[in-house]
Amino acid sequence: MHRDLLQLRAEGLYCPAGEFWIDPWRPVHTAVITHAHADHARAGMGRYVAASAGIGILRARIGMDGEIETLRYGEGRRFGAATVSLHPAGHILGSSQVRVAVGDETWVVTGDFKRQSDPTCAPFEVVPCDALITEATFAYPVYRWPEAGDVAAQILEWWNACESRGASALLLCYALGKAQRLLAELARLTDRTVLLHGAMVALTQLYRDAGVSMLPALPVGDRRAPELVGQLVLAPPSAAGSPWMRRFADVETGFASGWMQIRGHRRRRGHDRGFVLSDHADWFDLVRTVRETGARRVLTTHGQQEVLARHLRETGIEATSLRTHIGDES
């Protein structure tokens, strides 16, 4: 039987020819990391290999002690019989796809990716391959993203409406990636200052250090209700319902996420507004990406892998779903 170039092991996705793992969930000696989100980059690895564009964030996330080797996008690095290179995934700053070539066979792991424009990171690059391991977080055709610029305009309109009635606008979003993308998208429409929850301050500074242009932002700090009126405040979703919320008097909450495409998700979370903005590919970009890589074989992971795999099989691509420990976000 054919020996797969990448295999699922107890520690994570493993390359026997190069003796390294990709985004492992248990400690290993060599970990190639696609990006710095917690379900992909974990502490405790012997050695990390990651894109140089994301090195600052990765250091902030996993601590300073791990040994990190950086690769520029497109730069080849030899591990045993395997050649590894990293390519932009367009997910967050420094996010990568991992290309692994052994002999004349090429595999690509997309990691998390998106095809929509994002001013905070390098755009996704199509990497031709024989086999593709793709994420499938939003693999239903009901997920079709609106233009990010239109969503930013909706957010600005909501901010203005909150201000005119004397309320604060609290926009919940992931602290790494989404918050900075929102600040960058909004910077095209306004130049007002935004307030940030403490969990976002250092990460946002790392983006600025990397040269990403964003709206001016200040920590919320100990500002209280009167100073928060008319302000747009960004905070991670976990802040909702926590004592941190006590600083607000009259506040509307919005949530920026791909999940907000579905009314039920928004209503269940009890937010006033949902804004459809995702750092993952929608259904149409997932399917398009598989086609553009020319992969004859596809392994789907991370989310709705069964739905995407079945659809691909029906279009003549050998596709199976792969169970990883990377979160089932639905």
Binding site: Y140, P141, V142, Y143, R144, Q261, I262, R263, G264, H265, R267, R268, G270, D272, R273, F284, Q304, V307, R310, H311, E314, D328, S330
Partner: protein, 539 residues
């Protein structure tokens, strides 16, 4: 339909009732009377005739988008709401829109939908596919909502009436009264609804009064004060109705505002013995000898517009009256219950004792402990519990706490095993929140009840995660799961049933608690439930 779809979005976006009411009032002020009339009708839960069933709509979406039918079905399960799912799927083939081109008012859309009811299937499909492609997303969603049932956007009939009152300056009581009975939407009807002129007698002759609703009594009735200030009756398990005798005619209206004329000929016949110009409030029950029959027996009578002689003989019905709202053409609602009750008893005394209209007898008690003893016998009498009403109370409108209480019997409970799960709708979309439970029969588990409510949001999330990791098999949106979790279910009654594989049907099943302390072998058997059924039906 643009302004109505904006109203819908506003109502959908906010959880504040004040903000909803303000948005409704604003719409009623600015919309054309024809559009406003339909908005009133639809927001109060009115539905349009169905052009296509859910399966046909999904099939059309599959055809229009090119997505295979399994993918459309999976998407439906993911989204939960069919109208929303169709709207999102079709987005991939929707045309781009110039603003304000071909804006068609809500009332005209409804005319189109109604016109389609007489068209061929193929004409309907072509019409709808075209509408899907051309409408912007928000309006396409509203259209799909209209085609798939009620709008369900968190607006009560009461809130619509309040907003109409805000918009027109007409008192909400008058609006509610004008909306009572069979209100037909139309521009003129809307103008009459918000008219500041007095109603003519004819307009109000055929409409019931707004029903006064009781609140559940959770604790000890002793908290209500002196027992002698209160009256008690059985809480009948039938349908609430008003019987109107006006101008020699008899009309029966359900609490839901449905005209029940023709459905209960024996009650209409008995009403001929009542004096003209009176309105009785009571409960319609299936009846045998001196006992009410279980609600399940009443159902065929509710559904049948013109019941045949066989059905009327095998399942006779009876109206048990408990209030008199109008007598001799006088509105009695501001009189005390004791006065109204005395007048009612006088009136009922004049008709034969075995007639299809009778009195809902008082349950006599000297103190609350005695009333509690009566309540413990409720299930054996096929009633749901007791009603407790303050003797000096006036007849109010809607659910106002304080004067009328319903004191239900404790539910029956049983421990059952979770075997299937399906994703929910609305705010539960994408979560597995519709559960099927089973009981033991020998070594096997037999499904016997579905339940949707009773768990906290945190428990729903935890159970959803568990279901995803303990799925045995998937059948479209339904998953069979490892039979290892036990839940305590509560329900009001058990009926023997030939239609159910378990041989029994339970009424209002809901989850009481997650029994983490029990393993599945400790769950109850079908025989345990049958024993309860024997008690409940008394045979």
């Amino acid at each position: 339909m643009r302004s109505f779809s904006r109203l819908y979005a506003t109502l959908d976006e906010t959880t504040s009732t004040l903000a909803k009411r303000a948005a409704l009032a604003q719409y009623f002020r600015t919309a054309s009377p024809a559009d406003a009339a339909w908005a009133v009708q639809l927001l109060r839960g009115g539905k349009l005739p169905r052009l296509m069933g859910a399966a046909a709509l999904r099939e059309l979406a599959s055809e229009v988008t090119g997505f295979p039918s399994w993918l459309v079905a999976e998407s439906h399960a993911q989204v939960g709401d069919l109208a929303e799912c169709l709207t999102l799927l079709v987005e991939s083939v929707a045309e781009t829109h110039d603003a304000d081109v071909d804006e068609v008012p809500l009332s005209q859309w409804i005319e189109r939908i109604r016109a389609m009811t007489s068209a061929d299937d193929e004409v309907r499909r072509v019409w709808l596919a075209d509408a899907w492609r051309r409408l912007p997303q928000a309006e396409r969603f509203v259209l799909n909502k209209l085609l798939t049932g009620a709008l369900r956007v968190g607006v009560s009939a009461r809130m619509v009436a309040l907003a109409l009152a805000d918009a027109s300056g007409v008192a909400v009581e008058r609006i509610t009264r004008r909306l009572g009975g069979k209100w037909l939407p139309g521009a003129e009807a809307f103008m009459a609804l918000i008219s500041t002129l007095e109603d003519s007698g004819e307009d109000s002759a055929a409409t019931p009064y707004p029903f006064y609703l009781a609140s559940p009594l959770e604790g000890d009735p002793a908290t209500l004060g002196d027992a002698e200030d209160w009256l008690a009756e059985w809480k009948w398990d039938g349908i609430r109705a008003q019987l109107l005798r006006r101008g020699g005619r008899s009309l029966i209206w359900s609490r839901g505002g449905e005209d029940l004329e023709g459905r209960f000929p024996e009650i209409e016949a008995a009403a001929m013995s009542l004096p003209d110009n009176c309105v009785l409030d009571g409960e319609i029950l299936a009846w045998s000898e001196s006992m009410p029959l279980p609600f399940i027996r009443l159902q065929p009578r509710i559904n049948r517009l013109k019941p045949g002689a066989n059905l009327v003989t095998s399942t006779p019905t009876r109206l048990l009256a408990y209030d008199l709202l109008e007598g001799g053409g006088r509105d009695l609602r501001q009189h005390s219950l004791s006065e109204r009750r005395a007048a009612l008893e006088n009136m009922i005394a004049s008709i034969p004792g075995n007639a299809a209209i009778g009195l809902s007898e008082q349950v006599r008690f000297r103190n609350w402990a005695e009333l509690g003893a009566h309540r413990s016998l409720a299930r054996e009498r096929n009633v749901e519990g007791l009603m407790i009403k303050r003797l000096d109370s006036v007849y109010r409108d809607g659910r106002k706490r304080g004067d009328w209480w319903k004191w239900k019997v404790e539910p029956l409970t049983i421990d059952a095993v979770l075997i299937y799960a399906q994703s929910g709708h609305g705010r539960r979309a994408g979560l597995h929140t519709d559960y099927t439970f089973a009981l033991w029969q020998g070594d096997g588990l037999v499904p016997f009840a579905k339940a949707y409510s009773g768990l906290t949001d945190a428990e729903l999330l935890e159970l959803d995660r568990w279901i995803r990791t303990h799925t045995i098999e998937r059948f479209g949106p339904v998953r069979s799961v490892q039979p290892s979790l036990v839940f305590e279910l509560a329900f009001e009654a058990v009926q023997l049933s030939k239609r159910h594989r378990s041989g029994v049907a339970v009424r209002f099943p809901r989850i009481l608690r997650w029994r983490r302390d029990k393993n599945p072998q400790e769950a109850d058997s079908l025989d345990n439930l049958r024993t309860l059924a024997g008690l409940a039906v008394g045979d």
